[in-house]
Every structure is written in structure tokens, then in C-alpha cells.
């Protein structure tokens, strides 16, 4: 697994995509903004580019000849994308900290803070659980899986914004008025890990049947 992860970050994921996480995270410093857009830059920019690279570099053929099981290839892929997502959340966290120090928490939409980062993790979890199992039906065609994953995770983001607007208890949890947002962040982290695991299990099973 370690070797496959090194392969992912050595060949597939250019260091530029790590840098991009911090550029997108800096968007959290913009005052008065719908900050739940930030995690989607990864889905709109990074993921299609990476998946296009996998296709043009014939990664399926390359990986199939390595002495590793197919499920390990899938595990490394889900894990490497998850690491990038976590970097985006950390970068958004840094941007949020600067924003909160300069402008304070007031915002017309969901406020920044640990609760916001928890929602970002849920968005990425949902994105992964839609994207990977659909993608690994062919391990090549990523257009429709990507569009659907973006739409479903956007619905989750929209639902979070609506719930914060209409429900005070939800707003209290997500806008850091309950234990400074720690429960929301932990809840988001648990959802992210669980959905990532489901994405891996289903994808690995599907990839086993793909003819390369």
C-alpha cells in the first residue's frame, strides 16, 4: 500500500495539486461569501484533471502489471484522493482562522469555523461515495460519475445552508455555538471516513470485474 501511495503521489498527483489546495483554502479569507463553495474547487478543477491524467497515462494497464492486487490499487486511489481532500480542508481551516481573526464570524451564509470544516468533510465523503463506485464500473469513463458526484454533494451543501437558515439547533451545531464546533467537526470526520470506506469496498469489488 505504501508503495502504491508513493506511486500515486510520484506519478499521478503532481505537487501542483497539493499547492492548489492552499490556494483554494485562501478563498476562505474573502469576507461575506458562501464558503461551502470552497471544497468544490477540488471537485471542479483537481479531480477531472487527475482522472484525465490517469486515462491518458493508461494507469490501469500500468498498475495491472505491478505485483499488487487490484483492490490495493483502488485503496491507494481512494486514499490518495482522500489525503488531497483532507489537505483542502486543512487549507480551508487555515484560511478560516485568518478570516475569523480579521473579520470575525459574521456571514450571510454558513459561518466559518470547525463546524464548517465538518460540513466540508461530509461533502467530500458524499462526493467520494458517489464518484468512485460509479467510476470503477469501467475505471476509465469519469464524466458522468464526476457530474453526479458534484450534483449530489452540492445538494448536501445546499441542504446544510438551508438547515442552518431554518433550524436554530442545526445552526448552533454547525456555527460553532455547541462546544466550539468540535462535535460537528468530529461528526463530519466520522462520516468522511465511513463513506470513504464504503466507496473503497464497492469500488474494489467492481474493479475486480473490469476487463483491462
Amino acid at each position: 500500500m505504501n508503495n502504491l501511495l508513493r506511486k500515486e503521489f510520484g506519478l499521478t498527483i503532481h505537487p501542483m495539486y497539493v499547492g492548489a489546495a492552499f490556494i483554494f483554502g485562501a478563498l476562505a479569507m474573502i469576507p461575506q461569501w458562501p464558503y461551502l463553495i470552497i471544497p468544490f474547487y477540488f471537485c471542479w478543477v483537481t479531480v477531472p484533471t487527475l482522472m484525465g491524467r490517469l486515462k491518458t497515462n493508461k494507469d490501469n494497464q500500468f498498475s495491472a502489471l505491478l505485483p499488487v492486487p487490484r483492490r490495493a490499487v483502488v485503496a491507494a486511489r481512494v486514499m490518495s484522493f482522500s489525503i488531497l481532500e483532507l489537505l483542502h480542508v486543512i487549507a480551508a481551516g487555515i484560511g478560516s482562522a485568518v478570516h475569523l481573526a480579521v473579520f470575525g464570524p459574521e456571514n450571510f451564509a454558513l459561518q466559518l469555523g470547525l463546524g464548517y470544516l465538518g460540513v466540508c468533510l461530509v461533502i467530500y465523503g458524499v462526493f467520494n461515495v458517489v464518484l468512485f463506485p460509479m467510476y470503477y464500473r469501467t475505471a476509465e469513463k469519469f464524466g458522468l460519475p464526476l457530474i453526479l458526484a458534484i450534483v449530489v454533494s452540492a445538494v448536501v451543501a445546499g441542504a446544510a445552508e438551508v438547515l442552518v437558515g431554518v433550524s436554530e439547533p442545526v445552526a448552533a451545531v454547525l456555527e460553532n455555538r455547541v462546544a466550539a464546533g468540535v462535535p460537528a467537526l468530529l461528526g463530519g470526520a466520522i462520516v468522511f471516513v465511513l463513506l470513504g470506506y464504503v466507496a473503497f469496498r464497492v469500488s474494489a469489488k467492481r474493479y475486480e470485474t473490469v476487463q483491462l
Binding site: 502489471l65 505491478l66 476487463q211
Partner: protein
């Protein structure tokens, strides 16, 4: 013990059926796997490697079932498939470094030595290498983890005659010690005449012959004569025949040569055998 044994491999697609392919390869030999485009060569190779899941049959490498011992057995095989442009914007040295981590038996000194021998510059990107150099690069990788079985899909396709000859000479040198074997598919029959101990011939998903190169050629004859002399009884004995301005030419099995006494009978080339087999049922009259 055979280094490779393929038993009754079959795979059915909507428009193609690979039927009960069986052959074996001993250590120290080169087997040419021939057939026209679409005959099933790549499907067979990919089925052997479990990249395509066969519907039936088994593959044994070094006496062990490949599908049950895939990770262990992949350590001892080197494969170059038709797609040699994987990660082709990366430098040779970088790809080798990534791949080397997967092989506990990787020999860095051997890698450097083969790179020197093949003039492989570590700083060149794969895309900057010619097809022949790319094949040599992947061959170097396989040699550096001490592969014993080499599987190549059309390794000489797209190479100029000099590069082809060079590569075939390397193949012959590889098996010289008697512990390495090569299975390579090709539709360039002159490659086989230069460099193959055995020939496995596949046509439309069906294995027609597995034999030594000399026996393969010796099993057939080319017959030529006047068209009027080729009656329906003799036509039935040809694998396929062709009418031309000066009469006819046909491929027959050597055992049927007696029926064609009085005609001009010559040994065929491997290309003749492939061409006439491909024309079965589509005689030009």
C-alpha cells in the same frame, strides 16, 4: 517443468470467441505467438495475465496456478504490452524508481548496467524515446527484477528493420542461459524466421498449431499449377487456393502432397501459411 502452461483458455465476447487455447513453454526457449490482426493474440496474452478474465481454463507459471498466486508470480514475469506510452511524460529514471519499490529482488546494479548497454538516458522522458527504446526500457525493468518469463505483445511493431533486428538479437541472448523464456506475439512473420524456437498459431480465436518453427513450416506445402487441373476433389484438399493469371496457387498439408503429384510443390514461408489460413472459405476463383 514448463515455465508457462496454458490450458483450455477461453473467453467469449459478443463478436469474438477465444476457444480452448492450450500451449506450454519450457525454460530457455522463445515462442512466437502469431496470427493476423484480431486473431486473438492480445486477448490470449491479457487472459494469461488476468487483465481480461477468461471464462474458462487455467494458466500455470512455474507450476503454480497464476490466478491463485498472482502477486508472487508477477515478481518473476516481465511484460511489455502494445501500450508502451504509459506515463510517457515522465523521465526514465523516475518511472524506474517508482516501479523498483514493488520488487524486493530489484537489482539496481543490473538496472544501471542494462541502461548503459541500451543507451538509456535516465533524464530522457519516455515520450522522447523511440518505440524500440521504450521496449528496451521496459525490458530493462523486467531484467532488473530478475524476471524469468517475458511476455511481449507485438514488441517489434513500428520498429525499423535495424531496430527490429537489434531487439531480436537481444531476445536470443536473453534465453541463452536456459533459465529465461520469451513468449511474444507478432504478425511480422520474418521476426519468427529469425528468432523463434516454437510457433503458436492462432486464427479467429482458435489455436491451429503449436509446434517447433521447422515442423510448423514443414507441415505445409505450396502447390502451383494450371487452374484447369485443379478439380473439385483437389480443391477440397487445399486449405485455401487462389486463381491467378498463370494458374493457381494453394496451401495444402504436407500429408496431402501425394494427391498433387505432377504439380509444382514448394515449402511455404510462415507468411504464406498465415495468408492462406486467413483465406479459408474465401477462395479467389
Amino acid at each position: 517443468m514448463n515455465i508457462l502452461e496454458v490450458r483450455d483458455l477461453s473467453k467469449r465476447y459478443p463478436k469474438f470467441h477465444l476457444r480452448d487455447v492450450s500451449f506450454s513453454l519450457e525454460p530457455g526457449y522463445i515462442m512466437g505467438f502469431i496470427g493476423v490482426n484480431g486473431a486473438g493474440k492480445t486477448t490470449t496474452l491479457k487472459s494469461i495475465l488476468n487483465m481480461v478474465h477468461p471464462d474458462g481454463g487455467s494458466v500455470l507459471i512455474n507450476g503454480k496456478e497464476f490466478r491463485e498466486n498472482e502477486l508472487e508470480l508477477k515478481q518473476m514475469i516481465g511484460v511489455v504490452l502494445g501500450d508502451k506510452d504509459v506515463y510517457n511524460l515522465y523521465r526514465v529514471g523516475k518511472i524506474a524508481r517508482v516501479v523498483s519499490r514493488f520488487y524486493p529482488g530489484w537489482d539496481d546494479a543490473a538496472y544501471r548496467s542494462y541502461c548503459d548497454r541500451f543507451d538509456l538516458d535516465q533524464d530522457r522522458r519516455l515520450v522522447e524515446l523511440s518505440q524500440g527504446m521504450r521496449t528496451k526500457f521496459f525490458l530493462t525493468i523486467a531484467l532488473s527484477h530478475d524476471a524469468k518469463l517475458f511476455i511481449f505483445d507485438e514488441p517489434t511493431s513500428g520498429l525499423d528493420p535495424a531496430a527490429r533486428d537489434d531487439l531480436l538479437a537481444i531476445f536470443q541472448e536473453l534465453v541463452k542461459d536456459g533459465d529465461r523464456s520469451i513468449l511474444y506475439s507478432t504478425h511480422i512473420t520474418s521476426d519468427l524466421e529469425k528468432c523463434a524456437d516454437f510457433v503458436t498459431y492462432i486464427d479467429d480465436g482458435e489455436l491451429l498449431d503449436v509446434t517447433t518453427k521447422d515442423d510448423f513450416i514443414d507441415a505445409y506445402r505450396i502447390v502451383q499449377g494450371k487452374w484447369e487441373s485443379l478439380d473439385s476433389r483437389l480443391k477440397g484438399k487445399t486449405i485455401s487456393h487462389r486463381k491467378h493469371d498463370y494458374g493457381f496457387s494453394a496451401l495444402i498439408r504436407r500429408v496431402d502432397a501425394g494427391a498433387f503429384s505432377g504439380f509444382q510443390i514448394d515449402p511455404p514461408s510462415i507468411e504464406d501459411i498465415m495468408i492462406y489460413h486467413t483465406r479459408r472459405g474465401r477462395n479467389h476463383e
